[in-house]
């Protein structure tokens, strides 16, 4: 039934209208779409239909969205994009830490959703294909360990470079504070202290690479959740 070469997306949402709008948008952009209206069906399809991306609404009637994320993650590495409302901040963070790849706050633009899907798929590409990253006037060559703004090299401290590298490797995808800390600082004894260091590092990095550090365009803050490296300006 599925055409070869087409990306397969599983939509999990109990609201019929949301599924309908998602399906219409995705199909018109050339994706194959499967639907699940509850958690049980979601878990079944997540394995049996081999989707390339799963879009999961956290507010399901039968199961906890964070639980579903965890259970899917136990069985597969399929990228998961969660849909949540603004008030569910802690659920959102919990889902991201449980292995979800990104989130969209309802209501969201169709364009935003498509960008997120592209971003999480990018993550699946082999390492070599994304060693060169460019956005706006910023270009980073991971193979060469070089960072340039306006074609002029920028000198970064090892921590700043490590942080930028993590963001580049996950470009377009949200990285939670916890995920970044785990990647850069091995010891997580004093989380508060580490978070403070992270904020300082982000601030310094912005001073070096952002055109206007007061209005960051590359390294975006996801309030209370983490940071995201912008992929298109």
């Amino acid at each position: 039934m599925a055409e070869p070469g087409k990306m397969r997306i599983l939509i999990v949402a109990d609201e019929r209208t949301i599924r309908r709008f998602l399906k219409a948008t995705l199909v018109s952009h050339g994706y194959d779409v499967f639907e699940a209206a509850n958690g049980v069906a979601a878990l079944k399809y997540a394995v049996s239909s081999h989707p390339d991306v799963i879009i999961l609404d956290l507010g399901l009637p039968d199961m906890d969205g964070v639980d579903i994320t965890r259970q899917i993650r136990e069985r597969s590495k399929t990228p998961i994009i969660i849909l949540s409302v603004r008030e569910d901040e802690s659920d959102k963070i919990a889902a991201l830490d449980a292995g979800a790849d990104d989130y969209l706050t309802k209501p969201f633009h169709a364009g935003e959703m498509l960008a997120r899907i592209r971003a999480v798929m990018r993550r699946l590409l082999p390492q070599s294909e994304k060693s060169l990253f460019t956005v706006g006037k910023l270009s980073i060559d991971l193979a060469q360990h070089s960072v340039e703004v306006n074609s002029r090299p920028v000198h970064l401290t090892p921590t700043e470079y490590a942080l930028l590298k993590v963001l580049v490797l996950n470009a377009g995808k949200i990285m939670t504070h916890g995920q970044i800390l785990k990647e850069i600082w091995d010891k997580t004894e004093d989380v508060e202290e580490a978070l403070h260091l992270l904020r300082v590092t982000v601030s310094n990095l912005r001073n070096k690479i952002e055109p206007d550090p007061d209005m960051p365009a590359y390294i975006l803050t996801e309030p209370c959740v983490g940071y995201r490296l912008c992929t298109d300006i």
Binding site: R86, E87, E89, P107, L195, M215, L220
Partner: protein, 501 residues
Amino acid sequence: MKKLKAKQNKIVPYFMSIALVATTTFLGGFIRGAIEPANIVIFYLLMVVMTAVWWGRYPAIMTSMLSVLAFDYFLVPPYLTFAVSDVQYVFTFIGLLAVGLVVSALASKTRQQAMDALGREERIAILYRLSKDLAASDSLEAVLHAIRMNVGGIFDCRVAVFLPADHGITPGSFDHDFPLDEHENTIAAWVFRNGKPAGWGTDTLPASKAHYLPLNTSQGVFGVLGVCFKDDKAGLDPGACNLLSALASQAAVAVQRAKLTEISRQIELIRETEKLQTALLNSISHDLRTPLVTIVGALSSLLQDFSSIAAETRKELLETAYEESGHLNRLVGNLLDMTRVEAGALKMKTKPCELRDVIGASLHLLKDKLEKRNIQMHIPRVLPEILLDFTLMMRVFVNLIDNAIKYSAPDTPIELAVEPLENKVKIEVKDKGFGIPEEDLVRIFDKFYRAVKPRQVTGTGLGLSICKGIVEAHGGQIFAKNNPDKGAAFTVILPLEVKET
């Protein structure tokens, strides 16, 4: 109650009676040869009357009898013997005794009446003082305090007033040294349930430390008065007992009144709240429906006549619907923020934040609207971290900057400045727009209040009240003023050290 105590000292009057009789006899001894002994009887009668008036009946009876004996022994010949030589003196003795007894009865009755009158007067004065204090009390707390102070002052005792609680009763107001423990509380609860006095000085559970009286009115029991005397050997005399129950019933009426006042106050509050909620609901449903009208209208016309509508018009209709849905989304967001703010600081999740980051994220959210605008930023590179609820504080800046965008011409600049002060940080958002009428400078922070309504500016009248709620929850201040030249300036002042609540 000093008078009640003096009365209890019962032996002194008898000694005084003996002393009076002895004095009379002693003086009589000097003149016994000069005058007829029968005349001295008059002085003895005087003593009987005095004793009766001063100390009451029984000392007077004793004085009568002692007088007869002393008169006989010392003043009637033969002296220093009870024998009588002249028979007529027997009649004198009988007369003296009889007169003494009658006089003592009459005099002591008079005295009792005078005493009673005095007691009544004192009682009335006490009750009057209490009722005056109670009338001046405008809250339940003040009523309880007045009861405690008055009863404690009159009886020189420790007082506790118990009030009904969810399960049984609880001490509402009490002297710090009142013996409050589980046992005492149980007795108070029993008194409350049964409406009868109990505890010390009664037949019910007399082993307890304090005496408990119900605060009874015709409507039922409103509480329990606990009285613990400092001198716990003395029992309660009937007078004190009566006075105490009179005070208790007066206190009961006052407590009942205070409770009724409180209830009616609460009802009034509920009514006000309901009125406000209705107004809120009306306003909200109107605000919710307005964008829906546009959305439904635009989309339905597209559905119906899709092919006959020019491509350009189609796009226009879709854009209108999309814009209005954005408005609707902001409105719902504002309402949710409002409830969060009203739920109070409990819902705040403060963490150390970089103010520059909060502002940057706020500006990012308004990216599309800011694209055409000139925004001038003055943020120091080095700022201390500050304890904030990141998302809530973002709402403040988004609202303020969005207002600046909405209420000023597109070609005018918007200024955003951050200035560290001592222990505080000041954030200012200035525009060169219409400004705010002087009389609205304070009111614009009220819920659903909107100042001048320039054409084409949509809003809910919630934004600024949310800002105020959020800033104040952070222990900060927000105020508005007009720039000396043109436009409005909003200032947020946040403390650098927010105490954990």
